[in-house]
């Protein structure tokens, strides 16, 4: 059986250096004995998350008026004020832009974490860029059962005619790409997320048997694939090769789970299905992401809170017109006020997740202390589908000390920030999409 840890991370090296083979997560008690170097290596950037909201924002109510350390929180950012110990608002980022406006909603979703303008196609030849979460996952995701977790709330399978003209639905169905050609499907069913993270509910013995069974099946599937391969044309063989690589990846994952004591892993209650209420659904997805961090089932996640062009209404906050319609506010003050309500509402839902991370101890601090979390969108002002400035705020210990509002030069490609993020996680990236350099907001 193939089993490969492609990358190793600094912390593991440190632990080995200390002659330790202790499994993650670290015990609280261990920290005081660690050397300062070990501490520096182990935190604060242990985990990464990127949370996306659709249909842009009212930027005047998002972007703080002043810059530097003592800026005043705007209405949309207000829910984040409790986290101002480690918070960074970055202004003047732009996503890549071809010069004319086509398929803006698809491009916003597909362009945000990729830093590119995705190839215009409705078909097989989708092409964007490896996203920052996947770059980070390659760096820090190999020691957990799941290198990364991709979440969403809207299942658009079979939905046709609802994507941007000229662009494949794949561009709008995910914000995460493992290669420029591979959009990663986002899971909308909390139950399925739960099972991916913690396996099917059952006794520890049942779960151990299931893992064993899966492993023996996986071991033998390569033979079937080889039978097929002999008869196939070159293009089919390419897809089959991906299939085989993926089998090994799953095997690696199973080995990861087996290497922990399955019986000891505390799992939260399995959700029964997909709630039909947006608050509950978003809350459950965030809870699962928090549980995944806590159990160290993954260290990287992306979450598209809702999909671009979303036609959701939010009667719970008094917005009965659809999200996308409201986003084209025509500078009508009433509509803009509705849009601010929606933007603030999303921020409030996200803040609940931040609170959960802050209240979960992790080593010498909280999970939030050891995370770098991006919150933002690939669209600025929604009325004209603005590609800049984008609403972006970073929160968590990984952002450094205090609250800052950094003004970058106008139209700084978002790839510049992702280069910065990549380096913060120890990955060296010379070019990220259309980057023209590298920001230094994460020193």
């Amino acid at each position: 059986m193939m089993f490969a840890i492609r990358k190793s991370i600094a912390r593991r090296t440190v632990l080995r250096g200390l002659g330790s083979t202790i499994a993650l997560p670290l015990l609280d008690a261990m920290f005081p004995s660690l050397t300062p170097i070990a501490k520096a290596a182990a935190r604060p950037r242990k985990r990464f998350g990127a949370v996306y909201f659709p249909n842009g924002a009212i930027m005047q109510q998002f972007t703080p008026k002043s810059f530097g350390a003592d800026f005043e929180f705007t209405p949309i950012l207000k829910p984040f004020e409790p986290y101002k110990n480690n918070l960074l608002v970055v202004t003047n980022l732009t996503r890549s832009h071809p010069g004319s406006q086509v398929g803006d909603h698809a491009v916003s979703a597909a362009g945000f974490l990729t830093g590119v303008w995705p190839k215009r196609t409705e078909a097989e030849d989708v092409f964007a860029n490896t996203t920052i979460d996947q770059v980070v996952a390659k760096q820090i995701g190999q020691e957990t059962p799941l290198p990364s977790l991709e979440l969403a709330t809207e299942d658009f399978s079979g939905y046709v005619g609802g994507c941007s003209p000229g662009f494949s639905c794949a561009y709008m169905n995910t914000i995460s790409w493992s290669t420029p050609k591979t959009p990663l499907p986002m899971e909308t069913n909390p139950r399925a997320v739960f099972e991916r993270l913690f396996g099917e509910p059952g006794t520890s013995e049942q779960r151990r048997l299931r893992l064993e069974k899966q492993r023996s099946i996986l071991d033998s599937l390569a033979d079937d694939a080889k039978d097929l391969e002999r008869q196939l044309g070159p293009r089919d063989r390419g897809r089959l090769a991906d299939y085989l690589d993926n089998l090994r990846e799953i095997e690696r994952r199973i080995q990861q789970v087996e290497s922990r004591n399955v019986a000891e892993t505390a799992t939260p209650d399995a959700p029964i299905g997909t709630p039909d209420n947006f608050d509950d659904h978003v809350g459950l997805m965030f809870d699962l992401a928090a549980a995944a961090f806590q159990a160290d089932a993954t260290r990287v996640f992306t979450f598209m809170m809702s999909r671009e062009l979303s036609q959701r209404t939010y009667p719970q906050i008094g917005v009965t017109e659809q999200h996308h319609s409201v986003s084209h506010h025509l500078n009508n003050p009433q509509k803009m006020a509705q849009m601010v309500k929606i933007n603030t509402y999303y921020a409030t839902l996200y803040a609940k997740f931040l609170e959960k991370l802050r209240s979960t101890p992790d080593g010498d601090g909280s999970i939030l202390d050891h995370s770098l979390l991006v919150y933002g969108a690939g669209m600025g002002d929604s009325n004209g589908h603005a590609s800049d400035p984008l609403p972006v705020v970073l929160i968590g210990g990984g952002t450094g000390r205090g609250a800052r509002h950094v003004q970058l030069p106008v139209r700084t490609p978002v790839g510049n920030l992702w280069r910065n993020v990549a380096e913060a996680f120890g990955a060296s990236v010379d070019q990220f999409g259309d980057s023209t350099g590298k920001t230094d907001v994460l020193a």
């Binding site: 406006q101 078909a123 909308t188 069974k213 033979d223 293009r235 390419g238 993926n246």
Partner: protein, 797 residues
């Protein structure tokens, strides 16, 4: 992909597009294929004025084009043929040849283009999508699974989710297929180790529960009816929860009601709720009272393993009177603060099994266990027989001895540690996880030149047919004919296609082809504004979809002309829908066929499904309706709006409300917008008598509807009836679009110029049979791309 880079889809520029529409709507050009000696002269006289080497209008240099090499420049000439067939060129105002010469030239060109060597194309390794997986499990194991819970959603392209290019792989996907294999095998064989699990069904909040729900016992109202696979013989707990208002007050307790739990239509429990006692408690302690009522709504029953229909409904209460309301709505749940009226079910949960007593005698066990070992000595032979049969159906061909050995190697150890059934279960897990089950693969014979065209094997043809017509695996008869090498025989083949169309499994064409072509699947996301459309409820939404599905199904089953989809004088309604349409004398939740007397309601354009899914939440959208018709019925790609289009102006406070037409007129004063909207909008305007939920209306914003319009070419239409006549004045355009969509769906790939001669030929042949549904299905099934494949180019990608 063969020659991917040279692939160019038929595209029409913004300007040409508008012109093309004019003619598609109204030009009539029956053609006969005569060889005009003067094709060159026609071109020289009417085309090269603009399309010459100097002006290069539209990038065309027809003065330099070599007419003896048309097949060599297929892409170019297909575009020109499209313009001619639709009468787009020369543009209105420019001189044209007389109709006979024009038609003769078009036919001559098409005939030349049809001389190109046939093109087949090649699907890439195709992962079973959700629908195919669910149907394959159904046909392999006689087991219906909830595939949305098992597998992640599929991406779609060209309007369909069975496009092989999009059915790729990722670790997360493969993991789900692997875990699905274990779950399905346990359920099918009846693994006694299956732990108690729970499954919850939610009722949409906007489902009105004061009327009978189809599938539930007569004399009941509201509730839910679901088919559930009970994993084992054993006891199961049923728990219902009722809706509460936004202030957490349970609805419907002021009158006594009785709630019935049923299994396969037989009552298993009756619970009383509401009445004076509950009502009194409700006022003093709303939350606790609601919890207490929910706690009563449970029961535990012994249920045999296998599929059973679970029902929960409220007994019709003769004493119940709807509280007096100023304006009662059809939707019983419109007010989130209203605690009066009927109780509403919110969720139904089944948990179990508890105290399981065995796997029972389920349809899937009957299907799997084709033999039972009489003694331990005969076990291996029986296992081998079962495994061989499962493999043959799952892999869609005769399994190799290696396949059997590999699968048996999972049987043996599991048999050793468990019983015979566990051995079979382990073998089944292995089969369902195999790429040979999960991928539709086709062999590429050795020794073919790059790009060579060859007939696929009979086995592969059997799979192509079954996935096309059934979205599923081939049955025994198809596999047998394939194994005997008889399937490619034309007579046998045609007979098989007809047999398959008559089979209930052909309903897959309704769910998967029509559901996507007509975008019916999007209806579930249609949520009109409650303030404006307080009557709209889920009952109506479901009825919309059901009507169009039954309607499409009738065209298949009665083998009608596909033109009937546009013009039929019948449809299917239940009471709710009949009321919506104003059809008298229809009572009950059951659908039945009725004659459509109102001409405006005939065919798809009069059906609520289409009218609603082309509307916004607050209003109709003539643009979306126009676009939907052009793209889905006439096969034209509507270009996206140019940058920075100013949206419609909102009504300001104090301003007089304006009709949709008035608002749009403003929109069209912009010359850039007008270019397209001049063509799009009149189509939508003609349908303005149908509001956003498909009700007939005479007024918009207090003014009479003006449903008149001038289609781009000057044809004046007023209302949907005349619009339909104009759309069908050249029926080939509708049939060609239908054929293109069907071919995309059948092949699992997008079309390009090289496929156009096939499309033409299918339409031409079907015309002789009045475009009967079977003539188009047969045309697709007999076409070169369906029966053949193109060998890969050497070493690429």
């Amino acid at each position: 992909m063969v020659r991917r880079n040279s692939r160019a889809r038929i595209g029409i520029g913004l300007l040409g597009w508008r012109l093309l529409v004019l003619c598609l709507l109204s030009c009539s050009m029956p053609g006969t294929a005569q060889d005009p000696p003067s094709a060159r002269q026609v071109l020289d006289r009417y085309c090269v004025t603009c399309h010459n080497q100097r002006l290069k209008t539209g990038g065309l240099e027809l003065d330099a084009a070599d007419l003896s090499k048309i097949p060599q420049r297929q892409e170019l000439w297909e575009k020109i043929a499209t313009k001619l067939r639709s009468g787009t060129m020369p543009p209105p105002g420019s001189p044209r040849p007389d109709r006979a010469t024009y038609n003769a030239t078009a036919s001559w060109l098409e005939a030349k283009l049809d001389e190109v060597p046939p093109f087949a194309g090649r699907p890439v390794l195709h992962r079973l999508n959700r629908a195919e997986y669910a149907n394959a499990i159904r046909d392999l194991l006689d087991l219906r699974v909830d595939v949305n819970a098992l597998l992640p959603p599929d991406d779609s392209a060209f309007g369909f989710d069975n496009i092989s290019e999009m059915l790729g792989v990722s670790p997360a996907l493969q993991e789900r297929y692997l875990s699905a294999a274990l779950k399905v095998a346990a359920l099918a064989v009846g693994d006694p180790a299956q732990a108690a699990t729970s499954q919850t069904w939610r009722v949409r909040q906007d489902l009105s529960q004061d009327q009978h729900v189809e599938g539930l016992p007569l004399g009941t109202v509201g509730g839910i009816s679901v088919l559930y696979n009970f994993p084992l013989d054993g006891r199961y707990r049923f728990q219902a929860k009722l809706y509460r208002t936004n202030l957490n007050i349970m609805r419907g307790l002021q009158t006594a009601h009785q709630v019935e739990f049923s299994i396969d239509g037989h009552r298993v429990q009756l619970v009383s709720i509401g009445g004076p006692k509950d009502l009194a408690a409700l006022f003093s302690a709303p939350t606790e009272t609601g919890d207490a009522v929910d706690a009563r709504l449970q029961t535990e029953v012994a249920v045999p393993a296998g599929p059973h229909t679970i029902g929960l409904a409220f007994l019709q209460n003769s004493q119940f009177a709807e509280p007096t309301r100023l304006q009662p709505f059809e939707r019983s749940s419109v007010d989130n603060f209203d605690w009066a009226g009927h109780p509403h079910l919110q969720t139904l949960t089944v948990t179990g099994p508890f105290h399981q007593t065995g796997p029972g005698d389920t349809p899937s066990r009957k299907r799997i266990f084709s033999c039972r070992p009489a003694s331990s000595a005969s076990e291996e032979a029986c296992a081998r027989q079962i495994v061989t049969s499962l493999l043959k159906h799952a892999y869609r061909e005769q399994p190799s001895s290696a396949d059997i050995a590999r699968t048996m190697s999972f049987y043996f150890p599991a048999r050793k540690t468990g019983d015979f059934d566990r051995g079979i279960q382990a073998a089944l897990e292995r089969i369902l996880a195999s790429p040979k089950f999960l991928f539709r693969s086709e062999r590429e014979p050795a020794g073919l030149g790059p790009g060579a065209i060859y007939a696929v094997s009979d086995t592969e043809l059997a799979s192509r047919l079954s996935f096309f017509l059934w979205s599923s695996i081939p049955d025994d008869r198809l596999l047998l004919l394939a194994a005997q090498g008889k399937l490619h025989d034309r007579v046998t083949f045609d007979a098989e296609v007809r047999r398959m169309l008559a089979d209930p499994r052909a309903d897959a064409l309704v769910a998967n082809f029509a559901g996507q072509w007509l975008q019916l699947r999007n209806l579930q996301n249609f949520q009109p504004n409650t303030d404006l459309f307080p009557d709209f409820d889920d009952n109506l939404r479901q009825s919309f979809r059901h009507e169009t599905e039954l309607f499409f199904q009738s065209v298949i089953q009665e083998d009608r002309s596909v033109l009937d989809l546009m013009t039929a004088d019948y449809t299917f309604v239940n009471e709710r829908l009949a009321k919506h349409y104003g059809i008298p004398g229809v009572y009950g939740s059951q659908f039945r066929r009725v004659t459509v007397k109102d001409e405006a309601r005939r065919g798809l354009l009069g059906q609520g499904s289409i009218l609603a899914l082309t509307s916004h939440a607050e209003r109709t959208s003539p643009v979306v309706r126009g676009k939907w018709i052009l793209e889905n019925l006439l096969g034209l790609q509507v270009p996206p709006p140019p940058a920075n289009v100013p949206p419609l102006k909102e009504k300001q406070d104090g301003e007089k409300p304006r009709t949709m037409r008035e608002q749009m007129a403003e929109h069209r004063t912009n010359a850039v917008c007008a270019a397209c909207h001049k063509t799009l909008d009149p189509i939508g305007f003609a349908m303005e008598n149908f509001n956003a939920v498909g009700s007939w209306r005479a007024l918009d914003a207090g003014q009479p509807i003006d449903a008149s319009g001038e289609l781009g070419d000057g044809t004046k239409v007023k209302g949907v009836v005349e619009l339909r006549q104009a759309l069908l004045s050249r029926p080939e355009n509708f049939v060609r679009t239908f054929t293109e969509k069907l071919l995309i769906y059948a092949l699992g790939r997008g079309l390009d110029t090289r496929d156009m001669s096939q499309v033409r030929s299918i339409v031409r042949n079907a015309a002789q049979d009045n475009y009967r549904f079977s003539s188009l299905i047969l045309g697709v099934a007999q076409s070169t791309p369906f029966r053949m494949s193109t060998a890969s180019q050497v070493q690429q990608e």
